[in-house]
Chain length 157, copies 2
DNA sequence: GCCTAAAATTTCAAGGTTGAAATATTTTGC
DNA sequence: GCAAAATATTTCAACCTTGAAATTTTAGGC
């Protein structure tokens, strides 16, 4: 992909975008680190496990491994390992869909669903705490900007 | 830490913060994934190596391992491994500071400095491209909000 | 001058992550 | 029907990451 005209014409804008990216990344890392620590301490689990359970919770009938990896923006091989461990823990089960023996549908067990519900409740409070300095209005504005940015970019690729 | 009054009083604000966090995380992941791919393809390196070199580039006299890990928001043991590999590649050297044989100062070699300069140039263009949909003004506003949020939060902990 | 505490780093096990190769299965073209 | 292409997933090596334990060295208290 070539640089857009604006990319070449406005170096000041690009410096500003670079600064934005650095701050966005640092903010994400601070929050992620804190969440990781709390998930470990309070629920003896990890952020990737939480993410997978979160995705499955919204789809009680289950998700294909490939849907899971696409939704979570991680590789196929990665999901395999995380789901394996969740199965070992008894939070997820695998099944086949239709007569297709290639596919594997993962879904939460009763225990997994109950566990996730408890984690989600805590998670929401933690985020409220960690982003407490962001006013409701700022949160809304930031959120809209980020949504626009990401969907624009993804549609091109 | 107890939840702030606002945390309890405004559930709508908390939902908005949760939405913000999810979008922030996804945006960061999309950009990070793209950067990782390009660093691999164009420079045969990784994002963590880039981060370490970036930090060292700004401090030509070098940095302590502990300063490096604090600055990059990663663990001590993590930095050890990444620096090890950069040393193997000839991009970084270690030295001792003063007479203190506990400390280890890492700094870029000539080759490391030259390599980072080339990567930084490409990196800035990539960010301009990936965040191209964000106007200069939006970038500035977002950036200010993120800075305020992170520094407020960090000061308390 | 010792002994203990503190400080800086490394080591290590467990898990997360990617990208590529391998495996297994289904679909398609003929 | 069958060979080849396409699809879904797993496996694997290399690297990243954490948090805790171990190591090495220095600083402080006495």
């Amino acid at each position: 992909m070539d640089a857009s005209p604006e990319t070449l014409e406005k170096p000041a804008a690009n410096k500003e975008r670079l600064r934005l990216w650095i701050r966005l990344l640092r903010a994400a890392r601070v929050v992620e680190g804190e969440l990781r620590e709390r998930l470990k301490r309070e629920f003896d689990t990890t952020l990737p496990r939480f993410d997978v359970m979160s995705a499955l919770y919204r789809q009680p009938e289950g998700m294909l491994m490939s849907d899971l990896s696409r939704f979570l923006l991680v590789s196929n091989g990665n999901v395999t390992g995380i789901v394996d461990r969740l199965v070992t823990d008894g939070f997820v089960v695998r099944a086949n869909r239709d007569g297709d023996r290639r596919t594997s549908i993962a879904r939460l067990t009763e225990a997994g669903s109950a566990r996730f519900a408890a984690m989600a409740e805590a998670h929401e409070i933690w985020i409220a705490e960690l982003l407490g300095e962001v006013s409701e209005e700022d949160a809304r504005r930031l959120s809209v900007m980020l949504k626009a940015f990401r969907s624009n970019w993804e549609n091109e690729h």
